[in-house]
Symmetry: C2
Subunit: 451 residues, 2 copies
């Protein structure tokens, strides 16, 4: 099976088949498709058409499609399903996906669906998982895993794995627990296959197993799994009891969300929009930051108004305003970006605070010197006004230093107060640096020209 290409013509063909209620055509065309591809087709159909297709598809395929859908679309879409229908799909999902979907429903629907589940073990798992916050390790984990007891032999393990594996899509590691269900180690399927039937688990298991407590933040889960190159991580409670496991695909999703979020914060787009969303939605997602930038610009105008007499006397002063604001903005974004990366990656930094600030000041000094020397040379070359060139380059020097400090310290302060420091990387820091740069520039000009 290669990936299929979904063309506009194909979508139209499917739409026509749905219109004439040609269920045979719809079923046969989708029989060979991967659920992820059917999901793409559904995105192009309207809700009623999608519901028609879902009702035709085998419930296992429907369950995969529902797990796959974007959560905002899914919430709307599931409004078209009865609780019985939802329960039929939930029965066939991994417990972590099931809980994600149930968390999006109203309390009433959720209770109804859980009461309707045939699979009692699944219902129990789901009730258990609903207790955890969504963005912690407990909220990411599923209950499906394979565990064996420390005191068993390989033969017993293989039998148990055969039995447990019916409910577990991917095995990864087999976890070893003691009789109180405390996680004590792991053993790979490979190791079990390579061992003799009567070998005790005790003799072949590996006691080094990296686990994570259920209350840990999802970022910590991502960092630990990436650092130790894990494809699955067991989740334990504070006593070390095995509660569930998180698999790499969920971590990939979290990474994607994080990358998406930081992109949004850096560009000041406040909603998760894509190019094929509606005009109003795209417009609305962009406006808040544009308005903030506008307010910043109007404040800058008010502020420069104070120096209107200076500009009237020396209009050349106005020419360097874009240079000052652009440089302040660029330096601020660069500085904030590097500190945000450090803050979010849990990198161990052995330099203490004073050393870090010192280094930062040194980098800023060096770049400020180079930039302001270049600007001095060029501006003098072009305009032959010594005093103006001095004002511009001294102002630029101060702007680079101050914007570096602002760009570094703002994210650190936000982080201390528990605010995502990445919000500082966007239009906010740029706007603040614009104002700061103008204040320095006109302040210095006012002083040097003794206006």
């Amino acid at each position: 099976m290669q990936q299929v290409e979904i063309t506009r013509e194909y979508i139209e063909e499917v739409e026509e088949a749905i219109e004439r209620k040609d269920s045979a055509f719809v079923l046969s065309t989708m029989a060979e498709m991967h659920p992820a591809d059917i999901t793409t087709v559904l995105y192009e159909l309207d809700t009623n058409e999608s519901k028609y297709v879902m009702d035709l598809l085998p419930p296992e395929v429907g369950a995969e499609i529902l797990s796959d859908l974007d959560y905002d679309i899914r919430t709307d879409f599931l409004g078209y399903f009865t609780s019985e229908e939802i329960a039929r799909y939930i029965n066939l999902m991994d417990s972590d996906d099931a809980v994600d979907i149930l968390n999006e429903q109203s309390v009433q629907t959720r209770e109804e669906v859980i009461a309707l589940l045939d699979n009692e073990e699944k219902a129990e798992h789901i009730l258990d998982l609903l207790h955890y916050e969504e963005d912690c390790a407990g909220g990411l984990m599923g209950k499906e895993l394979i565990k064996v007891n420390l005191n068993w032999r390989v033969r017993h393990c293989i039998e148990e794995i055969r039995r447990q594996a019916e409910n577990v899509e991917r095995i990864y590691t087999v976890y070893v627990t003691d009789k109180r269900d405390i996680l004590v180690g792991r053993v790979s399927v490979k190791k079990l296959l390579l061992s003799r039937d009567d070998t005790p688990v005790k003799d072949i298991y590996n006691p080094d197993v990296i686990s994570i407590e259920s209350f840990r933040d999802e970022n910590e889960v991502v960092n630990v799994m990436q650092r130790y190159d894990l494809e699955a991580i067991p989740v334990v409670n504070i006593q070390g009891r095995l509660l569930g496991r998180i698999t790499i695909d969920d971590v990939v999703d979290v990474m994607q969300e994080q990358a998406e979020l930081s992109r949004q914060l850096m560009t000041g787009i406040t909603e998760n929009v894509e190019e094929d969303d509606s005009v109003f939605r795209i417009s609305r997602s962009r406006l808040p930051w544009l308005v903030i930038g506008m307010v910043g610009g109007l404040l800058a105008a008010q502020f420069m108004g104070v120096f209107e007499a200076d500009i009237a006397m020396l209009p050349a002063l106005a020419l360097f305003v874009p240079l000052i604001t652009a440089t302040g903005g660029n330096v601020g974004i660069q500085s904030s970006s590097i500190i945000i990366q450090t803050l979010s990656s849990n990198v161990v930094i052995f330099e203490n605070f004073a050393q870090r600030i010192l280094k930062l000041v040194l980098v800023a000094l060096l770049n400020a010197l180079i930039i302001s020397a270049l600007v001095f040379a060029f501006s003098y070359l072009f305009r032959h006004e010594l005093k103006l060139s001095i004002v511009v380059s001294v102002a630029l020097f101060s702007v680079v230093i101050l914007a570096s400090l602002m760009g570094t310290i703002t994210p650190m302060i936000l982080d201390k107060f528990g605010i995502n420091p990445a919000v500082a990387a966007g239009p906010f820091i740029t706007t603040a640096n614009d104002l700061l740069g103008l204040a320095i520039y006109f302040g210095i000009a006012h002083l040097l020209y003794e206006m």
Copy 2:
């Protein structure tokens, strides 16, 4: 095993032990550590100290550490090793990691190391993998995988898996090939475990297997694996012959690199620097974009110089320059960011080019109307100069529309020419929009005031 915390005190203790050649202490303190944690320790030691530690550690641990190291640090570090020493580690690595390291070495070292490999199968795998470009599917794949023949029975498969598994760290799926080694399907270890010993593979294998051709770009690999939620993907040649497989951990690494790259492009930082790099390195990584921004600012000054007489006549005109440039910059970044996301994600967009541009223009019109109406109201409120307010709001209206178009079209053009469109998201678009915005603003002012 929980993750250890590596403290400054611990590093000092290790450094002192190395100084007094206390190999017993070093070995005992690291015996319980995960290789990824030892890597962190090595980053804090100098090269000679790190080499001392590497020589003490068991070669399997050393091999994992080498696979883990950042490639620029690794290249320097391996300069301290003889070809014999490198070969000893390479013998113990997966073929994909081995090839990554060999690609970083000089041709001479590479040839020497390969000639010195004990493991002939590994050497053959490596020679084969060296043919592929690094950033395509062939360059990401390893040769370690488990395959069975379509005509075997389960018993034979389990025996073969036991044999092959010695060289394969993680099994994931077992691939099924025909007698010409063409990939025809897959079968899970779970399925094999759940089947009777004499069942033919033919009866239980799954012919739906998503594979990728060796020449495909690494971004395509990431998209396919994510789309179909795969933990490993088989790589085939154009005839469908099974060549190797790519595992999810490599894809996670590619995703990380991409996120890192786009962050760098957006912030105009040209090298992969971290907060604990040297002052000069950090400074150098930031300068190029600062200089480009500076050139943009000087050009803006030159350009505004043309209107110096206008500014002298009406200094209030200068006050709105930061508003114009900031808004142009914000709109440009927002527009480019959304189109870059679409270009990089291979999302199927069913709207054609004309529809997309139309929608874009509508979003721009809507936001331009709102922003310029607000600015008109506020600027009139503050300054009571009707003509100036009209000039500013008309200019702003045009700037929002043009910056949206520029921000969207520039990445599309870059993409057409095979340049990473994300370069457009950084200071480049901001600088271009600054100049464009000023041109519009002063042009309109000049016209309306009939100066």
